[in-house]
């Protein structure tokens, strides 16, 4: 059994704090975006990380590349622990992983043509293969028409920009691609193309994907494994079909039921969960979800539940997980079951 590609143990990421003179003024409290995240990402798997705003999903993706303020915890890359949390220590991961930003156009230098944008990872790594034909081949693999290579970023359409970003990611032959909201802002008619591309890359290269999204329907179709985050904590983890069939965490169920279903015959009579995600600076005591949870008890308000395995592929962080027998079929699942 080989070591997983990436593993984090109790990773804590907080907001950067301003400079504070010693002994002057009361110290500002530390605000954690991720209060301790443990997660394993295996070689060649597609892991979808799902959560709403404030869930820390984007921060986690950046933290893996040393682009976030990691305070404590361990990061293991291919079984080797990174020395510390300084930006430099993340270099082994940076060389083997590529990040797709939520807004691809903003991640390209506005003064560079797409051709040299795509060649950049190879130039940085000192690799060959930055000639016209090699870059055109990369673009073709990502489904980007060759005539787009001489354009600047702002002249691409949303789908083309996405493909250019994928071509750039591919140019360093990564073993992991972290995709932040890869379908956000894309029309339904083209987002499938980007997701198909991911699956093709995984099939041909064995590349692992960490897909960060708020779209459960997309996660259901492409993920090998789904992790649900709430306020920086994993509340539930499992394989898509099982997760959709019988969510164990009340928040997972609320998410499943909240997504409006494109079927006017299945309208909801009332919203599935009330209230909004609290600000991370006002993280609730105990279980983070208790302020919105219909089943919250005193225990939930006092003690935070830990993530515990239900089966080999399933774990949940809840004191009172929804009974698996009383299957409260997710509305999306009623369709999967046909």
């Amino acid at each position: 059994m080989t070591a997983p590609l990436i593993e984090t143990r109790n990773l804590v990421v907080s907001l950067r704090q301003g400079f504070q003179w010693p002994l002057l003024g009361s110290p500002k409290p530390r605000v954690d975006i991720l209060p301790g995240l443990s997660l394993t990402l295996r070689h060649g798997e597609i892991l979808c990380m799902v959560g709403e705003s404030g869930s820390g999903k984007t921060t986690f993706g950046k933290a893996l590349l040393g682009l976030a303020n990691v305070v404590s915890g361990e990061v293991l890359f291919e079984g080797k622990t990174l020395a510390d949390h300084k930006s430099r220590s993340f270099r082994p991961i940076r060389r083997r992983a590529a990040l797709l930003f939520q807004d691809p156009v903003s991640s390209f230098d506005p003064r560079q043509r797409i051709r040299s944008v795509i060649a950049e990872p190879r130039r940085i790594a000192g690799l060959t293969g930055t000639g016209h034909s090699e870059i055109a081949a990369l673009a073709a693999r990502a489904g980007l028409p060759a005539q787009m290579l001489d354009r600047f970023a702002h002249a691409l359409s949303g789908g083309q920009a996405r493909r250019a970003a994928v071509a750039r990611a591919l140019s360093a032959e990564p073993s992991l691609i972290i995709a932040d909201e890869p379908t956000a802002g894309l029309d339904v008619s083209v987002q499938g193309g980007v997701l198909n591309l991911f699956q093709d890359i995984r099939a041909s290269q064995g590349t692992a994907f960490l897909i960060i999204t708020h779209n459960l329907a997309v996660a259901r179709l492409i993920a090998d494994r789904i992790v649900i985050l709430y306020l920086g904590r994993v509340v539930e983890e499992g394989e898509p079909d099982a997760l959709f069939a019988a969510p164990l965490h009340p928040y997972t169920r609320a998410l499943l039921h909240s997504e409006p279903v494109p079927d006017p015959m299945k309208r909801r009579s009332k919203p599935p969960v009330l209230g909004e995600v609290p600000a991370i600076s006002r993280r609730p005591q105990g279980c983070e979800f208790h302020t919105r949870c219909p089943h919250a008890a005193d225990l939930c308000r006092a003690v935070a539940p830990s993530l515990s395995a239900v089966s080999a592929t399933r774990s949940v962080a809840c004191h009172f997980p929804l009974a698996t027998t009383r299957t409260d079929t997710g509305r999306l699942m009623t369709r999967t079951a046909g």
């Binding site: 339904v188 179709l221 997504e259 409006p260 006017p264 015959m265 369709r335």
Partner: protein, 321 residues
């Protein structure tokens, strides 16, 4: 249904930029009192241009032509800018995608909301305050009296969208235009806002024009839906009929691409190949991407014909009925 005039009655609306490109082409749209009309379309479909034209919010370079353009029976076509501006509020009000930018950041919410009641000059300050508080409570704002002294940045996005809806409804419009009102919100909040909009429609009878790219949002809220593609309405009808039996190939393809409607995890996800064609030229605008296009589609402009369900019409050369 009743003798009341249509809340919105548009016939043959065409909007051009720079004389040539028509962002909205030959659109007919009518909304009855209390009806929720959805307009669905992808980027470049002209759905936002259509919505903005109703309130006269388009830039000066837009050239608007319409055979008929009426709001609650009043001819908007013949009005000048100031008359049209006076309609914003009593006849139609709008809420936008990003509630954070819909309010002035430096004024208290109470002030901004009571400014909207300028038409009701004879109303005293206490009465205005009372009305605002009632409206905020109806849109689900807890402890509304205390919130009047708050600034917009002290609210979450979902809360501000509720306030924006209150602000729009304060003016008692006959038509509420909502341009992607839940796109910037979290999905649990989105569900609440959609529920709220339906509730308010049921209580106050305000008609809603819902602009969205999200099939789920349209299905959840609307009574009727118009599907736009490249500036034209390609299909229109009762929401149940459109989702159950879409007639136009574009509507069919759009529904096929929706991830939430895909039952099985299959190998590849469906896409509509190609990109939105630039409007202009003869033939059907969807023809270059259509899987069943024939030679005729590229030559002649397709007619609008009735589909199987009552009130369902589509624009295609093929006859399904």
């Amino acid at each position: 249904m009743s003798d009341q005039p249509l809340v919105l009655d548009i016939e043959d609306l065409t909007i051009r930029y720079g004389g040539v490109i028509s962002a909205v082409d030959n659109v007919n749209l009518s909304i009855r009192p209390g009806e929720v009309m959805g307009v669905i379309g992808e980027s470049g479909s002209g759905k936002s241009t259509l919505a903005h034209s109703i309130l006269g919010l388009l830039p000066k370079s837009a050239h608007i032509e319409a055979a008929r353009f009426r709001l609650s029976g009043r001819d908007v076509n013949a009005m000048d800018d100031s008359e049209r501006a006076a309609l914003r509020g009593p006849l139609a009000a709008m809420i936008f995608q990003n509630p954070m930018t819909a309010f002035s950041p430096i004024h208290r919410l109470g002030q901004q909301l009571s400014d909207l009641l300028w038409r009701d000059g004879q109303m005293s300050r206490a009465e205005k305050r009372e009305r605002i508080i009632t409206m905020l409570r109806r849109t689900g704002i807890a402890d509304p009296a205390a919130k009047l002294d708050a600034y917009p940045f002290q609210f979450s996005g979902g809360m501000l969208q509720r306030v924006a809806i209150s602000a729009a409804l304060l003016m008692q419009p006959a038509l509420l235009i909502a341009d992607e009102p839940t796109t910037a919100l979290d999905v649990t909040t989105e569900a609440q806002i959609l529920h709220l909009m339906r509730e308010l429609r049921d209580q106050s009878g305000v008609a809603i024009l819902m602009i969205s790219h999200h099939l789920g949002v349209i299905a959840e809220l609307c009574d009727r839906v118009a599907v736009m593609y490249a500036g034209q309405i390609v299909e229109e009808g009762p929401v149940e009929a459109i989702f159950a039996a879409p007639a136009h190939p574009y509507t069919q393809a759009l529904l096929a691409c929706e991830p939430a409607l895909i039952r099985e995890r299959q190998g590849r996800l469906p896409v509509i190949a190609g990109e939105v064609a630039r409007p202009g030229g003869p033939g059907c605008r969807f023809a270059p991407r259509c899987s069943v296009a024939e030679e005729l589609c590229r030559q002649a402009s397709p007619p609008v014909r009735p589909a199987a369900a009552e009130g369902q019409r589509y624009r295609c050369v093929r006859d399904l009925a």
